[in-house]
């Protein structure tokens, strides 16, 4: 090889240096690191992670994803992304991606690769066999708030009308079922009335049971911006047993003992009434007071007032403990009531509770009491954790008790409506709701469910007290299909693992927290043989129809036969869902066709009954005449607001007289600490995705147990020490983080870690809200003890 001039100079340089110390020079390999990549095309879509619904652009280089960026002026994120979002393209071609269908007859055998033909045949045969031998109740579908709306819709259609089973559930049961219950019972209609747009118009933020700085960073940024723009006028109240990064922008942090927030909320209402800060006009025009019981009784304002008499700020402050004083409660109530626009934000801290629905009702009570609803900058706004929990599962019929279009399954009229629209015989969909999540996996444990399809979620890690339910999933007589992109704790227990296309590898709609539907169109090919779920369901249903010799099953997917799975198939499903099913419902999406969504970069907010309205972006605020076309349609007088929600025939908002009730499991002498779980900014849910991004894994390699410094000093625990967290259900061993975060007497653990020692859902409690059936992940009792000094730990991700 010819030596270049530079090589010659280098050789001379090496020789001169070598001569000094008498070494024979010989070149070693030089490491070269690429620092940046060029992008030749940007394509639009929506972020894959949380429920905020950030609009993103995926950067492609030679057809491969290499970068991600926000778009200035986007309605949801204003162009900003969080670290998870900006790195998500890195997992698209990750080597761990599942690329071929995998099967094993027994769960103790290794998987072997099979063809799609065989895989769908097996899936259909097993489900058909279960239905034949044990009836429709022996099969189940467990989906996810990360599935596209089209996917959830077609799955539940085949399950309900095809297999005649209402065993259609999904992980949103674990995250927002209580919010649904709250909205329906208080306002008569699910999902927030307002939108993110209200943030820039609000003057008071009441954040309770949410660490939005970490769980919804991009929305938090909007709040922070608002606070910094008007630091004196805008007030932020953060109520949480743990001081979190969210508290940084707060004027006031109310730190209460876990579980006492119901009393706190009632006490704020007490102060608002006592100091006459309520909006008499709003209450008179739009509200009713309801006393729960059988039957529910109508009461008046005076009864409500009398009912709150127990919650004087003084009594409540002593009950709440922490840093709360009676004066704090009064101040918070005044800020809430007197601001020109108050927005409440809450998430899992309120929802994942044995009385999650009540807690939701009590927040809504405050908004009704003060008239902080429907006007600019005022809303009772529940945050959502998954990108399509609202759009797909809440609206698309992804839970056991609801049909698509916000229809309770047990109401004959609405059920028959759906059966007629689908063209299946009346009575095809059972009247009785199926198993809710905890009941479903209990039924798996008991062997009542013989075949279960788990789609795009990992219940083996995300269910509370998960060891108990993993036993059921591991049963040899339970056939388990898992559709996934990566190996997870759940694929470990599957018989059949089907590789699916990921975001941007398939087409479909995500509906985010603020009723906004956004379309992401297929841009890149899925690796290997991975397929979109809509194709999988269609093919599976056709085989089922054959095996069960049932033409109605075929009827469910007949309109979609032969369509191209990358675009035409999801489009046809979306058309059926929006044009037929949402017509005339409160989430009317008829205007939001694919054609419109392709034009509307920021998507459309429902109600959007017409194309004209959808092309204006849809409805920013529900129930307000002049903004919401359905409010105009349903108006019977000239009042500005019309609460036409499907659950309240009288078009009123209901105050619920809900008492304070503590957690299902409170600390005692044996288990003296509160254990609470939550999220960290760098990871998302079970880390099956974020754990495969090296930057994020470096940033947060494993779960810690956060301990208050006072408790740590008392127990002789030092930073990094290994600590055993024991509950009545089992124990975990995690490194300690000593931190003025959780209050004294409480420890906090992140739930993302997949490692058996640190998987905190092995010890959380599976008690659930009797109304919403959402488990109480947020509170149980534990004891902690130091087991050793710091240990070498390694991050862990399940491999196939």
């Amino acid at each position: 090889m010819a030596m270049t001039r530079r090589d010659f100079i280098k050789a001379s340089a090496a020789a001169s240096a070598a001569l000094l110390v008498g070494i024979n020079p010989g070149k070693a390999k030089t490491a070269q690191a690429a620092t940046t990549q060029d992008v030749d095309k940007w394509v639009r879509g929506v972020c894959r992670f949380c429920g905020v619904g950030c609009r993103v652009e995926l950067g492609l280089k030679d057809g491969r994803p290499v970068a991600l960026r926000g778009v200035s002026g986007s309605k949801t994120n204003l162009g900003f992304l969080c670290m998870k979002g900006m790195l998500f393209h890195r997992i698209m071609y990750h080597p761990d991606r599942l690329k071929k269908p995998l099967y094993r007859e027994r769960k103790d055998q290794p998987f072997k690769e099979i063809s799609w033909e065989e895989a769908l045949d097996i899936a259909a045969a097993k489900f058909a066999q279960a239905v034949k031998e044990h009836g429709p109740e022996s099969v189940a579908y467990y989906g996810s708030g990360q599935c596209l709306t089209e996917e959830t819709y077609i799955f539940q259609k085949v399950m309900r009308a095809g297999l005649r089973s209402n065993n259609v559930e999904g992980n949103p049961r674990l995250c927002m079922a209580s919010a649904v219950g709250g909205y329906l019972t208080s306002f008569g209609a699910d999902e927030p009335i307002g939108a993110y747009e209200d943030i820039e118009k609000a003057y008071c933020f009441f954040i309770i049971g949410s660490n939005m700085a970490e769980a919804h960073p991009v929305i938090f940024r909007r709040l922070m911006r608002r606070k910094l723009d008007k630091p004196q006028e805008v007030k932020v109240i953060n109520a949480d047993p743990r001081v979190s990064p969210t508290s940084r922008i707060a004027d006031m942090h109310l730190q209460f003992t876990p579980g006492t927030d119901l009393a706190l909320l009632n006490s704020m209402a007490y102060v608002i009434i006592e100091e006459k800060l309520y909006d008499e006009e709003f209450i008179k025009n739009y509200c009713k007071f309801k006393k729960p019981g059988k039957p529910v009784t109508d009461v008046g304002f005076e009864d409500y007032k009398a009912y709150l008499a127990d919650y004087t700020p003084e009594r409540t402050a002593s009950l709440c403990g922490g840093n709360i004083t009676a004066e704090n409660i009064r101040q918070a109530a005044r800020m809430f009531a007197t601001s020109r626009g108050t927005m409440s934000f809450w998430c899992m801290g309120i929802n994942q509770r044995i009385r999650g629905v009540w807690a939701n009702n009590l927040i809504h009570n405050l908004h009704m009491l003060t008239g902080q609803l429907c006007k600019p900058g005022a809303d009772s706004f529940s945050l959502t954790g998954q990108p399509n929990a609202c759009g797909g599962v809440r609206e698309g019929g992804g839970l056991c008790h609801i049909l698509p279009g916000h229809r309770p399954v047990k109401i004959d009229k609405l059920r028959h409506q759906v059966e007629d629209l689908w063209g299946v015989p009346r009575g095809r969909i059972p009247k009785k709701p199926g198993y809710h999540t905890v009941a479903m996996f209990s039924a798996v444990n008991e062997g009542k469910i013989k075949a279960i399809w788990i789609n795009c979620t990992s219940p083996a890690q995300s269910l509370p007290n998960c060891d108990k339910y993993r036993k059921g999933m591991a049963r040899e007589d339970v056939f388990m299909v898992v559709t996934e992109i990566f190996p997870t704790k759940t694929t470990e227990l599957a018989n059949l693992v089907l590789p699916t296309a990921f975001h941007f590898e398939k087409t479909g709609v995500y509906g985010c927290t603020e009723r906004r539907s956004q379309l992401t169109v297929k841009t890149v090919d899925a690796p290997g043989e991975a397929k979109p779920e809509v194709w999988i369901v269609r093919e599976w249903a056709l085989k089922l129809a054959e095996k069960l010799n049932d033409p109605v099953i075929k009827k469910c997917v007949e309109p979609f036969v032969g369509l191209d799975e990358d675009f035409d198939l999801p489009k046809a499903i979306w058309d059926e869902y929006t044009q037929k099913i949402t017509a005339g419902r409160d989430n009317d999406l008829r205007g939001a066709t694919y054609e419109v969504l392709m034009q509307m970069a920021d998507g459309v907010q429902w109600p959007a009954p017409t194309k004209e309205h959808a092309l204006k972006g849809g409805t920013y605020k529900k129930f307000v005449r002049g903004i919401d076309p359905l409010a105009d349609k349903h108006a019977k007088d000239d009042k500005p607001y019309v609460f036409y929600g499907p659950a309240h025939k009288d078009a009123k908002l209901y105050f619920w007289l809900r008492p304070y009730k503590g957690a299902a499991e409170e600390p005692d002498s044996e288990y003296p600490f509160f254990l609470s779980t939550g999220r960290i900014i760098d990871h998302w849910h079970t880390t099956s995705m974020t754990g495969r991004i090296p930057e994020l894994m470096r940033a947060n390699p494993y779960a810690y147990v956060e301990i208050n410094p006072k408790d740590a000093a008392r127990l002789g625990i030092k930073p990094g020490d290994m600590v055993e967290v024991t509950t009545r259900r089992g124990k975990c061993v995690l490194p300690a983080k000593i931190y003025v975060g959780p209050m004294e007497g409480m420890v906090f653990v992140y739930w993302h870690d997949m490692h058996e020692d640190r998987m905190i859902n092995r010890v959380t409690k599976d008690a659930f809200d009797p109304g919403s059936k959402e488990p109480e992940f947020k509170i149980c009792a534990c004891r902690i003890s130091r087991v050793s000094g710091p240990k070498q730990l390694r991050p862990f991700i399940v491999q196939m």
Binding site: T35, D38, D40, A213, R221, M224, N700
Partner: protein
């Protein structure tokens, strides 16, 4: 050491004879152009991780900010009090991790959240040329 190198450098300025010119690399047209870093930035990038005290595999799992709050408190404070600090935009998001460290982040990183700003900045300038590092509040 430094003196010695400088001395050598000036000796060569006096005595060097240039034999040939380097070939200039052709410019490629792409949608995103990474601005050529000035030599100083490049050097900083190389030096920064080298002069970092050696870390064990375990220590590399500690967030940068945990040590830097103590070792470079002024830099930490710049970040912690900034909008980035408040919204949890962490060190690694701009600077990368130990494997991908960049003292001066390339613009693709800025672009993730500030697409418009990276397009409208003056030609040939890098964001940090004008904006205060870590704070980004004002122009220098």
């Amino acid at each position: 050491m430094m003196k010695k190198l400088v001395m050598w450098f000036f000796m060569f300025i006096l005595g060097a004879v240039l034999l040939a010119a380097c070939t200039t690399p052709g410019t490629k047209e792409v949608a995103v152009k990474q601005k050529e870093m000035v030599p100083e930035q490049k050097a900083a990038q190389k030096v920064a991780m080298l002069s970092h005290p050696a870390l064990s595999e375990q220590e590399k799992y500690i967030p940068c900010s945990e040590c830097h709050a103590r070792t470079t408190p002024e830099v930490y404070k710049e970040w912690a009090d900034s909008l980035h600090g408040m919204t949890n935009v962490k060190c690694f998001q701009c600077h990368g991790t130990f494997e991908t460290f960049q003292a001066s982040p390339d613009e693709l990183k800025c672009m993730a959240c500030h697409p418009k700003e990276t397009e409208h900045k003056p030609e040939g300038k890098h964001c940090v040329d004008c904006h205060l590092e870590h704070r980004f509040t004002a122009h220098k």
